[in-house]
């Protein structure tokens, strides 16, 4: 047995004899389990709620009576965002985004009823998910278990004794690192087992699960390296504790809160009201379909007449108003899409600004990685919005086409088409965004985490050398 493994074993024995350390570790394990359980329970209730609502509104749509198709354009459809399977592990921004959208013709409504807007301020303390425990609390536990690892030996004089007995600084530090790395993985184990169980049950994909395991292992190892290195670099255990808790506070609590403020101050988002006003103005600039003198719609009319080879609107085989509806929807959707992409570009610029600091606060990296893999990040949400908008455009245009094509055959002052047509209208079929297609969002966090680990290993190597010199 080498010196390093001896020291690692000694470190485990020390932990087993440290009652406070054991209690804290047990508490964290318990917390992971409680978080997994409550989060899973919450997740399945959200899932059931949303599925139930979706089924209800879909059924209601089918049950609508005979109507003018344009009425159905405004009756619209509600869509609910299904929650991603791994969102129980990391609920990400799910509570901060509206997960229900009302889709109707020529309007883009906001996604509403975000949980955070319906909750008291308590939600702002954080949400109890396994990810919260691993990201926020596990580092602190690792600090408590590791801050004294080397400084303790130095303070008690056992360090000199060990060096005198021929163990070199490199071996000593390696042993401490091995010991605490094993402890860290043990701390993460309950959460990892929950994840693996999910993958085994087929509820989560293997690549995401394994990447998640890899990311969190790197995150936990990073804190082991930090606490053992700090312990080796300072004189007294209490100094190590102060430095590490301070670092934790800055990296895990402070920077993640401060950076968004800076980002928001640097890049501002337009309000929905301003966007709507601009849209309205741009639409008005294109033309007014009700104005017989309007150049844009006159040209449109000529084009339609030419297409059907007729002289006047009355001779058209289709309803002209329906065609204008299709054209209007095309125009408004294009303008909406442009505004939406402008807004999305600003949001992602804000997020990029924050992510750029993940080199400073690796929490941002693990958070990004975890949310992306769990399918609960802002990117997945904007993908949902995009899919909802594409769907909205399709079904609204289908109804408009029904109006154009079916109405000419129906007379009367209140023309309606049969309710059976509503069942031809597609239902929203959400395709969850595959996290693996977002290589950059996965790769970068790993680069940051591995970079930190590399940097800390260098520091640890330096600390190991210094250990021998200082012990004299």
């Amino acid at each position: 047995m080498t010196g390093a493994t001896l020291i690692a074993r000694e470190e485990w024995r020390a932990l087993l004899r440290n009652r406070a350390g054991l209690v804290a570790t047990a508490l964290l394990v318990l917390l992971v389990l409680v978080a997994s359980f409550t989060s899973l329970e919450r997740h399945s209730s959200i899932e059931a709620d949303r599925a139930h609502y979706q089924a209800t509104v879909d059924h209601a749509f089918d049950q609508q009576p005979d109507r003018h198709p344009h009425r159905m354009v405004h009756y619209g459809q509600f869509v609910f965002r299904p929650i991603a399977p791994l969102a129980f592990f990391d609920s990400g921004v799910d509570s901060f985004t509206g997960n229900i959208i009302f889709l109707e013709g020529h309007r883009q409504n906001s996604a509403n009823f975000a949980e955070a807007r319906q909750s008291s301020l308590l939600l702002r303390f954080g949400q109890l998910t396994p990810a919260f425990v691993l990201q926020t609390l596990a580092p602190l536990l690792l600090i408590f278990l590791g801050f004294a690892s080397v400084a303790r030996e130095r303070e008690r004089g056992t360090l000199r004794l060990m060096l005198a007995h021929g163990i070199n600084g490199r071996e000593l530090l390696l042993g401490k690192l091995l010991g605490h790395a094993a402890i860290a993985l043990a701390v993460g184990l309950p959460a990892f087992i929950v994840l693996l169980g999910f993958a085994l049950a087929g509820a989560a994909a293997w690549p995401e699960t394994l990447l998640m395991l890899g990311g969190y292992s790197a995150w936990l190892l990073l804190w082991v390296l930090l606490s053992v290195s700090a312990s080796a670099l300072v004189q007294r255990p209490r100094d190590a504790l102060a430095v590490l808790v301070g670092l934790w506070m800055v990296v895990v609590i402070l920077l993640p809160r401060v950076l968004p403020e800076v980002a928001a101050a640097r890049i501002s988002l337009d309000t929905k009201i301003e966007t709507e006003i601009v849209l309205h103005r741009e639409l008005a600039a294109i033309g007014d379909s009700h104005d017989p003198e309007d150049p844009y719609f006159n040209e449109f009319r000529e084009k339609v007449l030419a297409e059907y080879g007729v002289e006047s609107i009355e001779e058209l085989p289709v309803q002209y108003a329906g065609l204008v509806g299709i054209e209007g929807e095309r125009l408004t959707s294009a303008i909406y899409a442009e505004a939406a992409s402008r807004s999305a570009a600003r949001e992602s610029a804000q997020n990029r600004f924050v992510h750029a600091f993940s080199a400073l606060s690796p929490l941002l990296a693990i958070r990004q990685l975890s949310m992306t893999l769990a399918g609960s990040d802002a990117g997945a949400h904007s993908d949902f919005l995009q899919q909802a908008e594409d769907f909205r455009y399709r079904f609204v245009q289908q109804l408009n086409r029904m109006q154009a094509e079916l109405l000419p055959g129906i007379s009367g002052e209140d023309p309606r088409i049969s309710a059976t047509y509503w069942q031809d209208i597609p239902r929203f079929d959400y395709q969850a965004l595959d996290p693996l297609r977002r290589q950059e969002d996965i790769l970068w966090p790993f680069v940051v985490l591995v970079g930190w680990i590399g940097g800390l290993l260098t520091i640890a190597a330096f600390a190991a050398q210094r250990l021998e010199r200082i012990a004299k």
Binding site: A263, Q350, H381, D414
Partner: protein, 452 residues
């Protein structure tokens, strides 16, 4: 040199204590500054939106008003701006203002389909929560207190100075040390707050109540620090145990409480009422118009005589249908609000036993930036919406044209009266908990500072 002077010198010459205090000053100043930036950002947004909205309204007026202007079209296109400017103390406690809309446009159609619209915000930025004075108070100050107070007696013992200190005739050394540290912490928190409050022209009483809350919350943590410091022999163990307490009290129990409250009190009625309102409004097209009018007239009897019209469509029916849609979901609206208020109530009750949650509740109630503030804004929008509807009804039911002059008569929204209040019970409970811990801490110190 007076003893207090001597203690101050001793404290400030110690690197760790000085760093901890300077850090707190820096954080507190930065938080007040950041809060002020957010407040002025929101004010700018309100001004910007108001400007754009004025132009939009002018364009609607241009398009719709005329000697034969149709009030139905005017009311349909004329959105009216409501705004909720940041309360004076919002800089210290932004609360939910980063999520909840503080500008919202409404028109005289169904209110319930307009009221819950979300403003644009970046969910990823909102996720970690705002950086403001309340955050520094609730989360970070305890850590500074831990650094300052965890080894008050044990540190002296470990350094071998305890017997010498105790052999001196002068008394009150621990009292002086604790009070000095306590006052410095409260000043570090309080001065930036006072400066911010002066700049924001915030009310004296609210600011004073915030200071009192901070003082009590700090007293709680000092008490806890002294108590644990007296129970545990080693100062490092004491520091670790205190950080553990901090994690449990400000991270674990609140998140657990939130999970329980969210689960126990579902807020699904918001979605229910939105869906029900849609059904009500759209069913209106398929049922006889007289049915819709009948329901409308039962709540608006003054227009009962004006229900007839020629042809298939009249705006007065359209507006009546929207109002009937709102009335159809009135029960759901109440149930929805009740569930949200229940969540607030239980959060407040949780604050009776968790000082962090209690302090959070009190300062945000003082700043009027919590959920109750948002309710007050929604209620004022509802009041304004009613005024707006009743403004259009005479034009619609009397078939009066809507002219340019009438455009100038459209009611404008006046910002709500602030609904801030002092959460008295929460404050009393915080006082009680702080007093208890301060007493236990003092007793603990008295015990360990005796002979060993």
């Amino acid at each position: 040199m007076t003893p207090v002077h001597a203690e101050a010198l001793l404290l400030l010459k110690s690197g760790r204590n000085l760093v901890a205090l300077l850090l707190l000053v820096a954080l507190s100043v930065a938080a007040v500054w950041s809060g002020s930036v957010q407040v002025s950002g929101q004010q700018e947004v309100i001004e910007r939106v108001a400007q754009a909205q004025e132009e939009d309204l002018a364009a609607v007026e241009q398009a719709q008003a005329g000697p034969r202007g149709d009030p139905g079209y005017a009311g349909y296109y004329a959105f009216m701006l409501t705004q909720d400017p940041p309360p004076a103390l919002a800089f210290a406690a932004m609360g939910l203002r980063d999520l909840q809309p503080y500008v919202l446009r409404v028109r005289a159609l169904g209110l319930q389909q307009q009221l819950y619209d979300a403003e644009i915000y970046n969910p990823e930025l909102a996720l970690p929560g705002v950086f403001d004075w309340a955050f520094v108070l609730v989360y970070l100050t305890p850590l500074v207190i831990i650094a300052l107070a965890h080894d008050l007696v044990t540190g002296e013992r470990e350094a071998g100075r305890l017997r010498l200190l105790l052999s001196l005739p002068g008394g009150g050394v621990w009292r002086r040390r604790v009070i000095l540290r306590y006052l410095l912490v409260v000043i570090a928190l309080g001065l930036p707050l006072i400066v911010g409050a002066c700049l924001a022209a915030a009310p004296m009483t609210g600011t004073a109540a915030m200071l009192l809350t901070a003082a009590l919350y700090c007293a709680f943590w000092f008490g806890l620090a002294l108590l644990l410091g007296s129970l545990l022999r080693a100062s490092t163990t004491a520091a670790a145990a205190m950080t553990g307490c901090w994690i449990v009290l400000t991270l674990i129990l609140p998140t657990l409480g939130n999970a329980v409250i969210a689960r126990a009190i579902p807020a699904g009625k918001g979605i229910d009422l939105t869906l029900a309102q849609r059904e009500a409004v759209h069913a209106g097209w398929d049922i006889p118009k007289s049915e819709t009018f009948e329901r409308f007239f039962s709540s608006h009897p003054q227009w009962r005589e004006k229900g007839q019209f020629e042809g298939r469509f009249h705006w007065k029916w359209y507006y009546a249908m929207h109002q009937v849609g709102d009335e159809a979901v009135a029960e759901d609206v109440v149930a929805y609000r009740t569930s949200l208020i229940a969540r607030e109530d239980w959060t407040r009750r949780l604050g009776y036993v968790l000082p962090g949650v209690g302090a959070m509740t009190i300062v945000h109630r003082l700043a009027d930036t919590d959920q109750l503030g948002q309710f007050a804004y929604q209620d004022s929008i509802a009041g304004f919406h009613e005024k707006l509807r009743h403004f259009y009804y005479p034009y619609l039911f009397n078939d009066r044209p809507f002219t340019r002059a009438d455009f100038n008569q459209i009611p404008r929204y006046a910002p709500r009266v602030q609904s801030d209040s002092l959460a008295v019970v929460s404050l009393l409970m915080l006082m009680l908990v702080a007093a208890l811990l301060a007493y236990l801490g003092a007793r603990g110190i008295a015990r360990v500072s005796g002979v060993q």
